[in-house]
Subunit: 410 residues, 2 copies
């Protein structure tokens, strides 16, 4: 399972700031992987609030159920993340395992189990023995730190080939407020509300309900706008923890002008993490930005962009560096959304390849083929119907994807 690092991996990783009120530790519990960390425990100081979005899958994991039941209260003191086993579709065993894991974490951190949030990804359907964490959480609680963030980012990985980190800082009245985020995800990526797993930490003093309200629209533009393989996970979880330690007046109302500034910084972090997930798409060699404009509505534009970004034929053509724009036409046509073939305009980067229902008069195969050899590509579609627009991020479909997923469990 030692996959080569994605060619789309960033050249360097940001050094995320410590967040006042957040400390963490990682450990090797031997859940599935050998010789690497696979557990992350985060401890939050009292007063930390939490907001989150979870998978809309009708078959969610036990950990997702656990979080959903506790998000309403909005209070968090701990986060336990495990890698290699999703605790999904394990029935009563899964529910028991999740509750026991939360109890171990709560005991180690000295808080209520209802203040512990849980997330796990990995194999589906394999029961996880919570005994594996019995001594581990206690040990981790004795060596909590506020940095470096590289350790938690690595501990939550499964088929990821590189850790994913992003941060932003905003100032209010001269006081810096920090947002640090990590994510994991590489396959089974077509989030319906979040990525596989993403955790954001901030010292902003934001009311839990306000935070939840700010989060959802930012998720739409980030994790809900990426796809690796059109398969939506049973474990998708994005949680934002706000410790309130920054020395500014609390944000208790969504109408507070600072709320929007904070939401945009939060959105930047989410967007950066989401694109990192695509860059680590299983087998990916190209990062593709699909932009659809001129649709009847933003929603219609989004569905057409998804249809293009999920099309195996579009994705294999990109893998083959083939400027096969006819497959983009196909994907627009099958999306089930309003489209007028004879108004359609398609560009690869700044090269218009098709317009008014046929190949562009000045189409230059050599120039277009040269463009396709880039590692980062843009597919731009103009529908000429209205003002609806959307952007979806995807990667190519390669032999690597087949190889990784043909024997994942073995």
């Amino acid at each position: 399972m030692a996959l080569p690092v994605s060619p789309l991996a960033p050249k360097s990783y940001p050094d995320l700031p410590a967040i006042a009120g957040v400390r963490f530790a990682t450990a090797e519990a031997g859940i599935k992987y050998k010789n690497r960390t696979d557990v992350l425990l985060c401890a939050f100081e009292e007063g930390t609030v939490v907001a989150g979005v979870l998978t809309r899958s009708r078959c969610p994991s036990a950990a997702v159920d656990w979080c959903r039941e506790r998000l309403g209260a909005g209070k968090a003191r701990g986060l336990l993340v495990t890698s290699g086993n999703a605790t999904a579709f394990t029935g009563v065993k899964g529910r028991t395992s999740v509750a026991a894991s939360a109890a171990y974490a709560a005991e180690a951190l000295g808080c209520s189990t209802n203040e512990i949030f849980l997330a796990s990804t990995g194999v589906i359907g394999e029961p996880l023995d919570p005994q594996k964490f019995a001594g581990v959480t206690k040990d981790m609680s004795s060596r909590l730190m506020g940095a470096p963030w590289m350790e938690p980012a690595k501990a939550i990985m499964t088929t990821d080939t590189f850790p994913k980190l992003a941060s932003a800082t905003v100032e209010f009245d001269g006081v810096p407020v920090s947002i640090s985020g990590i994510a994991k995800g590489s396959g089974m990526i077509a989030p319906d509300m979040a990525t596989m797993l993403s955790f954001i930490f901030t010292d902003a003093p934001v009311d839990a309900k306000v935070l939840q309200g700010l989060l959802q629209p930012q998720i739409e533009k980030s994790f809900n706008s990426i796809t690796v393989d059109s398969d939506t996970s049973t474990s998708d979880t994005c949680l934002v923890f706000a410790t309130g330690k920054a020395a500014i007046a609390p944000v208790t109302d969504a109408g507070d002008p600072r709320a929007q500034v904070f939401a945009e910084a939060l959105g930047d972090v989410l967007h950066e993490l989401a694109v990192l997930v695509v860059r680590d798409g299983e087998g990916a060699t190209k990062l593709v930005t699909v932009t659809v404009e001129g649709a009847e509505s933003d929603k219609s534009a989004f569905r057409i962009a998804q249809s293009i970004a999920n099309s195996p034929l579009v994705k294999t053509a990109i893998a083959g560096e083939d400027a096969n724009w006819g497959r983009v036409v196909m994907a627009v046509g099958k999306a089930g959304e309003a489209a007028d073939r004879d108004k359609l305009c398609i560009a690869f980067g700044h090269i218009t390849v098709a317009e008014n229902g046929e190949r562009s008069p000045g189409y230059d195969e050599a120039a277009t083929s040269a463009y396709m050899r880039n590692q980062e590509l843009e597919i731009r579609v103009g529908l000429g119907l209205g003002a609806g627009a959307a952007t979806v991020y995807t990667c190519d479909l390669t032999h690597g994807y087949i190889a990784i997923n043909g024997d994942y469990r073995s």
Copy 2:
């Protein structure tokens, strides 16, 4: 482009009966392929009626538009099918090319251009010079035959690795009525109303409107229930030509008891051809039947079956002979249809692998892995909610699919 024959190809091909009133010829027009036939011309005797279903793509090919405009009249004297160029998304050039091709065929057969039906598949967006057929149709019309059907079945192939033929015979009052069908298709297969291309010929005397009414429900159970790669073609076309030459009283009313007998025989032919298309799915090594039962409705069952059959993760696991039923759980969960995780039951063939929301107590990895090595597999899902059921046919996703589609145009 000389692909190895699919391992799922049938061991032998049926010898289809000649259909009174139908004659055909094939030719090499050099549209894209070298040293193989790429044009089929069929001639129908006067009185032949036609019914058909065409792609619902919003970007249909010029040939599809041509057929749609002429299906209402229900009369056919000729069919011209070309391979290697889809005449799709070629704007005015495509419309002119299609009209000119029809004119050549009409001249060769001595009928009106409005009685000529056209179909073509291949590259999208490449203009097709109709001059290529100028002498060809005339020559073909001089050597029309009623058999063997292997020739037309081969002439309509593109990335197909074997020809697809099926037939059925029903008797009414001791008089045999024959149905002979051919199809092509291998990739870009997720028909929304038909396959890539399928043509059915019968000597049954059936009224055009009755025939159209009988066809649609049979399409739902055959071509609309298969998927190779979730990509819906711009050229999907299924046409049924009925010459009326069988010596039985005409079927002029859908309530005629013979209509249903005929429709079922027609359905058998369509179903056999549809499964042959899946057997020739690009890169396929396994034929997979996905059956969903106990859904809230047939439509809901169908959508869940499609979600499983289109999931890249399910399909790569099958390619790897991995009994990864957790991915089936994932695909059920993401379908957006009613499902209760804790009632879900999943079987591979007759081996129940999961029930009541977790792995079956008697789960046997060795037995299940042995089952996965079969060339034909069944995935059966029970939802336990209602009486809705559906079956969808698909194939695995292999390195072969990536290789074929990474450089299709070059």
